[in-house]
């Protein structure tokens, strides 16, 4: 099934809200494609190191690492270090050594590129683009960050291009007449008020940061445009991962809507941990089989399971109606929670059959 979704695709982006099993699904999809003869790399930027977990690896680095697994193709995995990717980007785009050192040595840069979660979304896209350019893999699978808003990362390239728009940077570096004209009246006042609100030193440091950053803006902006076009490319597939709970399903429906709106290549939904149960059992029959006490406990457990199964079926039916003709794959709630290669193989059966 998922094989059809990824036919002739080179990039698979797994998206969805937190805790639905995105990381596990990314790993399972990557392993599945590798088992079918592809050379696959799976990327995660999750600061909580979950992918290594899903792959049964103790630790992943910023470079891709080959996963020791007996498959027809190859499975590689990497965990992105946002700070390192920022540094690489600066080195790549700096017009000369002086600019490079000025940016890398700037205090604002050092604090912010390292400390802040916001830049990771963009960095994931950036790395994806870089690996795609290098053409060393048949398929790249991206496990998207657990952003508060699962959609944030879609806007990341656009936000970055806006941020580094050189016209706005110009104002930071020198609130000249040109800058004032671009940004509209009131900017001069705003600037002086801002000094009062933030403190002069912060502004100076930011100014210096933006000044040196400004020399690299064109390169980085072009790059962001390329990253954006990779997302919309017909060789890319978005796979939404969801659990069958109400909140997750609603978020998946909304996400689907956003993808369609943005004209991005949506492939389908994987519903994870779906409860399944059969028809009602007969208490008398169970009692005969198990004796009263045990039968009562079994009956109760089964009824609980059936209620959850019913809920899941209703929630997923709703989602299906929203998706129209797009497909959905259901992965049942397995007995064990999945966190190693054996577990991933168990999922494979549902994803690829």
């Amino acid at each position: 099934m998922i094989g059809d979704w990824l036919e002739r695709k080179e990039v698979c982006i797994c998206a969805g809200s937190g805790g639905v099993g995105k990381t596990t699904m990314s790993a399972a999809i990557a392993l599945g494609m590798a088992a079918r003869g592809k050379k696959v790399a799976v990327l995660t930027i999750d600061p909580a190191r979950r992918l290594a977990n899903s792959l049964g690896l103790p630790e992943l680095g910023n470079e891709e690492r080959r996963v020791e697994v007996d498959v027809e193709g190859e499975l590689w995995a990497m965990m992105l270090d946002a700070k390192r990717t920022w540094d690489d980007l600066v080195e790549w785009h700096a017009p000369d050594e002086r600019t490079r050192d000025a940016v890398l040595g700037n205090r604002v840069y050092q604090e912010l590129s390292n400390a802040v979660a916001g830049s990771q979304e963009y960095m994931a896209m950036e790395k994806l683009h870089e690996l795609h350019q290098e053409r060393r893999y048949d398929v790249l699978v991206l496990d998207t960050p657990p952003t508060r808003n699962a959609l944030d990362f879609l806007d990341a390239p656009r936000r970055l291009s806006e941020f580094i728009d050189s016209r706005s940077l110009q104002v930071f570096t020198a609130p000249s007449r040109l800058g004032l004209k671009v940004l509209g009246r009131g900017t001069g006042v705003a600037f002086s008020v801002m000094k009062r609100a933030t403190g002069i030193e912060l502004l100076q440091d930011l100014g210096e940061f933006f000044r040196s950053f400004g020399d690299m803006t064109d390169g980085i902006r072009d790059r962001a445009t390329l990253v954006n076009s990779l997302l919309a490319d017909s060789r890319t597939a978005f796979v939404l991962v969801t659990s069958p709970g109400r909140d997750a399903v609603e978020e998946a429906a909304y996400f689907h809507h956003r993808l369609m709106d943005a004209g991005l290549p949506f492939a389908g939904v994987v519903a994870n941990r779906v409860h399944r149960a059969g028809g009602p059992s007969d208490p008398a029959e169970l009692a005969e089989l198990l004796g009263e006490t045990l039968a009562r406990k079994v009956q109760r457990t089964y009824e609980e399971e059936r209620r959850l199964a019913l809920r899941d079926r209703e929630n997923l039916a709703k989602l299906r109606r929203r998706l129209g003709r797009k497909s959905m794959i259901e992965v049942p709630h397995l007995h064990d929670d999945v966190h190693d290669l054996d577990g991933l193989r168990q999922i494979d059966e549902y994803l690829f059959s």
Partner: protein, 299 residues
């Protein structure tokens, strides 16, 4: 009280249950959401919570912090003038700056949370004994807790730095601030909880006060009963054998959960409390009350 944990573990539900419990004990309590997800509203069966504090029950309030609004409030306070704040907030230059400065929304968000917990509110709202924060998931949660220190360092001197240092000190005062991590008894949430506690200590010198493990299955069947069920596998009608399999599957899950729980207890310093799995299609106010009862017994 900051409530964090891996995505999908039930942070909001636990934060809400803590809120109910605190209010019952006579504390004026506010539960704050920071992720703009309005999950509290769904739990309490109301349309939405919003940026203004809203009373959910006697002594229990809720607020959903919006970074944009928090930024405006911060400006107004910093400049001591609504008019100047208006000039700045409306300026494109300022929009660019704040959009460009990463981590700023984390800073103003934690700033708003800090304000909610003060006896003299900066924004002039009502006073609370306890603010319970439904914080972002562990990764982003760390970023949010780190934001004040980061900005204090970046700005060095000046009002931003001063304010950030006050908030950072408040977070580090164990008499004022507690950190509670919600987990599930599964491999990855357990790993993340262990790692979060370690990183919180290493990177921020903060301490996890309590871990609450959510969604723990009952241990219904003895090993002997499980053997019995296994030996009968495939017997009886389709429905009966489906029931047997469901019972066995849950027995296995419960066993897996116990071993994860043991692992968690071995590896974290903080005391660990558990909450039962609620076999309900949908959680609402009644379930939050039930979890509050459970917490009352265990905390």
């Amino acid at each position: 009280m900051l409530v964090t944990g891996k995505g999908g573990v039930g942070r909001t539900t636990v934060a809400a249950a803590l809120g109910v419990l605190a209010a019952r004990r006579g504390k004026r309590t506010v539960v704050c959401e920071v992720a703009e997800q309005e999950r509290l509203a769904a739990l309490f069966g109301i349309a939405d919570v919003g940026h203004e504090e809203r009373e959910l029950a006697a002594g229990l309030h809720a607020v959903s912090v919006q970074p944009e609004r928090a930024k405006e409030e911060w400006l107004r306070y910093q400049l001591k003038s609504g008019a100047l704040a208006g000039v700045l907030g409306g300026s494109r230059l300022f929009q660019y700056l704040t959009a460009a400065a990463p981590g700023l929304s984390e800073l103003v968000t934690i700033g708003k949370v800090w304000d909610l917990a003060q006896l003299e509110r900066r924004t002039g709202g009502s006073v609370f004994d306890l603010a319970i924060v439904d914080a972002p998931p562990t990764g982003h949660g760390l970023a949010m807790l780190r934001a004040p220190a980061t900005y204090a360092n970046v700005a060095r001197v000046g009002p931003v730095s001063r304010q950030a240092r006050i908030i950072d000190a408040f977070l580090h005062d164990r008499n004022s601030t507690g950190v509670l991590v919600v987990a599930l008894p599964e491999e990855m949430p357990v790993n993340e909880t262990i790692e979060f506690e370690r990183r919180l200590a290493d990177e921020l010198t903060l301490v996890v006060d309590r871990v609450v493990v959510n969604g723990v299955y009952p241990q219904r069947f003895s090993a002997q009963e499980a053997r019995r069920l296994r030996s009968l596998d495939g017997r009886g009608s389709t429905a009966a054998s489906a029931a047997l399999r469901a019972a066995l599957a849950e027995h296995e899950r419960a066993r897996g959960q116990r071993s994860q729980l043991r692992r968690l207890r071995r590896h974290v310093e903080a005391p660990v409390a558990t909450l039962p799995y609620l076999f309900e299609p949908q959680l609402g106010r009644a379930q939050v009350e039930r979890l509050a009862n459970e917490l009352e017994r265990r905390l």
